[in-house]
Symmetry: C2
Subunit: 145 residues, 2 copies
Amino acid sequence: MNEFDKLKEKLKEKGFKLTTQRRVILDVIMENKNKHLSSEEIYDLVKRKYPEIGLATVYRTLQLFEELGLVYKLNFDEGRNRYELYQEDAHQHHHLICLKCGNVIEMEGDLLEDLEKLIEKTKNFEIVDHNVKFYGYCSNCRNKV
Amino acid sequence: MNEFDKLKEKLKEKGFKLTTQRRVILDVIMENKNKHLSSEEIYDLVKRKYPEIGLATVYRTLQLFEELGLVYKLNFDEGRNRYELYQEDAHQHHHLICLKCGNVIEMEGDLLEDLEKLIEKTKNFEIVDHNVKFYGYCSNCRNKV
DNA sequence: TGACAATTGAAAATGAATATCATAAACTAT
DNA sequence: ATAGTTTATGATATTCATTTTCAATTGTCA
């Protein structure tokens, strides 16, 4: 099942409508799979394909997509949200944020199973999601010292 | 060395001044060691001891304290920052955020050494800090189903 | 097709955080 | 202690991402 069928299905399930705007926004997100676009960046890209769109619609839609699990909200402490496509297979990854150049590098793999098990046991806390960021210096910036 | 001496020393080191406001703000943070107060909450508490203080001073001071390493900035995706006292001994902990009641529970221990080593090796990325949050349901809310 | 609810775009509103600027307070060397 | 220099403060205005409002539009389903 492709992303559009998923969108259609999830919308229908909850009584939401499939609009052109929603289709175009998903389109843009899919074309930028690994890019962590901000709401404003998505708005700019969407406007090229659908100039009449309003900024509020983009914000509303991203929020909706997050609730539907189509998209994942990221926060890199810049005072704005970013989004990435939720990919079942590839979702287990962490972000490495370079304190010098600001680049965000992906670290594939989850690797938190043991820690999560420990938490579930010692705290009786049922984990459904996590958010892990590492701050430091990327290979590029390390070499430039 | 207590926190006030630390403050004094770190300020002097960088040519900053030790003001009553800064002292009172640190005071409030220390009195609420494990509370994750927001800037506004700190402002309210500080005003009780020092009513003339301005909101901007609180924001400025928290930013300064973070730079000095006295305080740690937290982001629980509420659109506002929270702060906790930086405690050398007890700083290695993670936050468990309950999706139902919103409570934040502390999980002592770091337990990321292996993952960090792996990242440093495979990505040649020098880690200096990390930020780990787990989302799920706390023991209280699990029992209330 | 028609009816009804959900959706949209434009503009205004919100709210946390930051910038501005004149006044005040802290530090330094005398 | 004091004068002189610099940093800090408080009040206010401003910024900027995001949300709300509301009238007009558009999907969906019988």
